[in-house]
Symmetry: none
Subunit: 270 residues, 2 copies
DNA sequence: TTGCGTGTAAATATCGTGTTACCAGACCTC
DNA sequence: GAGGTCTGGTAACACGATATTTACACGCAA
């Protein structure tokens, strides 16, 4: 944003920050090259700040950054001025004073247009344990060989792998299926079973999906300690990844477990 | 244009015709399907003509034709209304009365943004497998001989070949046809079949388009190992690239396939 | 009209999904 | 710790969803 009005600046930056936008506020126009370096999505500019030579400046900016959304937000103007600004390459012209919300909508509309035909954000493949998850191929691999996951299996694995928390069945169902889980539905269990089977055949010495009894499932790649290490310690390793869960119910359960250590082993069937 | 004001209509149509635009003037809103059939670049609409249900109508139009530039040109309105219109998907909101010239500039700006992203700058001929894709001729070749692709077939092939990802049908449809795919539409499947057939006759020993069940299609030229020695052996050559998998389950599956060769083709749809 | 490209409809083949039933293990109460 | 109850794991199966293919109708242009 290039603007000198402190109030306008304040209102807009507050609103945008709560929306999670990254705003840079300047009180004088930057060179087109500087704008390129900023890697902007949109530019909101008050022509009064630019002063004489506005049209030339605007022209240079628009031709240097054809993909940039340019919104002119300035004081009273004539039709001829607005026509000229739009012809030069601006995407919209807003007359001050204006509502912040309306300006934001106009910016969004301009960016939306620009974004529409861009290739979707390249989803990176992630490695977890011995498994590679490739969202671009809707598939997971152990080394080079595919796990042959179905679409739904992949979505569940992908969801689980993106979080260290314990996910309740209802949560999983709602995020994968897209609607609320019916009471008594065991679909998630069944798919977790299929996933586990395919994970086990592809990478037998690791455990990936852990059961939290009465709660849900948690994804965490862990080398399979093969049942021999646990006895020697005399007590199971207490390593709830991520510490105390955010979910108050799960936290309460954890505290219960700490208070009754004799029942701890049972809760970690993993 | 959807508007009932005769004067406004007259002025605008005169001006647009001298600019060489093709204008269709309606006095009542058309269904999204009718708009699709018109193959428009932009839609200028007075919400007063739509009456109640304007937002729903606007929503349907914008989601059905994501590539259409929508300009709302209507009487006095509140900030909330304008915000809502823009949020739903309109590109601009002009308040009547307005200057024809300014409205035209706004339309131009919206179309300009839309057009900019339409044609990928890539005009070079690319080679994939045994096929050469020539965007400048709208045609693909195997060596010197043309595949005789139709325009739509070529566009789909060109789109697929530019990405290694799995592309969902809706994605393919929207980028090739230019508007949202109707539910249950199988056009993409049919064109993929025609493409596959032409690719197979031109280059039988390669596979190009791979099906990802429940997801979509992916383009990747891969030499097709097998199917040519099959007759002499009386059994399909089982040479899945990489030989027999280490994974016991996959190996078992291969043995199953050997036992029931008639099901082999189906299992190799990839 | 004919020919061509395009899109729809229907038949078929195949695969995936989710239900169900049953069993094993875990939890709770006593 | 024993018995009852509940939760989760497993397998089989029927149904529904999805893909492929063929055939055909429509629109457009020569």
């Amino acid at each position: 944003m290039v603007d000198r009005d402190p109030g306008f600046n304040q209102v807009l930056s507050n609103r945008l920050r709560t929306l999670g936008w990254d705003l840079r506020s300047l009180s004088s126009p930057a060179t087109p090259e500087a704008l390129v370096a900023m890697r902007l999505n949109a530019l909101v500019i008050d022509l009064a700040v630019v002063g004489p030579g506005s049209w030339e400046y605007l022209d240079r900016v628009c031709s240097r950054l054809p993909g940039l959304a340019v919104i002119i937000c300035t004081g009273p103007s004539s039709v001829a001025q607005r026509v000229r600004g739009l012809r030069v390459g601006a995407d919209a012209w807003i007359t001050k004073p204006c509502h912040a919300e309306e300006l934001i909508c106009v910016i969004e509309a301009a960016i939306r247009r620009h974004r529409r035909n861009e290739m979707p954000p390249l989803e990176e493949s992630t490695r977890v344990g011995q498994i590679t998850i490739r969202p671009d191929l809707y598939q997971a691999y152990a080394g080079e060989i595919s796990l042959e996951l179905t679409a739904r299996e992949f979505e569940i694995l992908n969801l689980l792998s993106q979080s260290d928390r314990v996910l309740r069945r209802e949560e999983i169902y709602e995020r994968v299926w897209g609607y609320a889980m019916a009471h008594g539905d065991r679909s998630v269990d069944v798919f977790v079973r299929k996933l586990r089977q395919k994970l086990r055949t592809a990478s037998p010495e690791w455990n990936y999906i852990h059961t939290h009894f009465g709660v849900g499932y948690r994804f965490a790649p862990e080398p399979d300690l093969g049942t021999q290490g646990a006895d020697s310690l005399g007590m199971p390793e207490l390593d709830v990844a991520g510490g105390i869960p955010d979910d108050p119910e799960a936290a309460a359960r954890l505290l219960d477990e700490l208070a009754a250590p004799d029942r701890l082993a049972a809760s970690l069937i993993d």
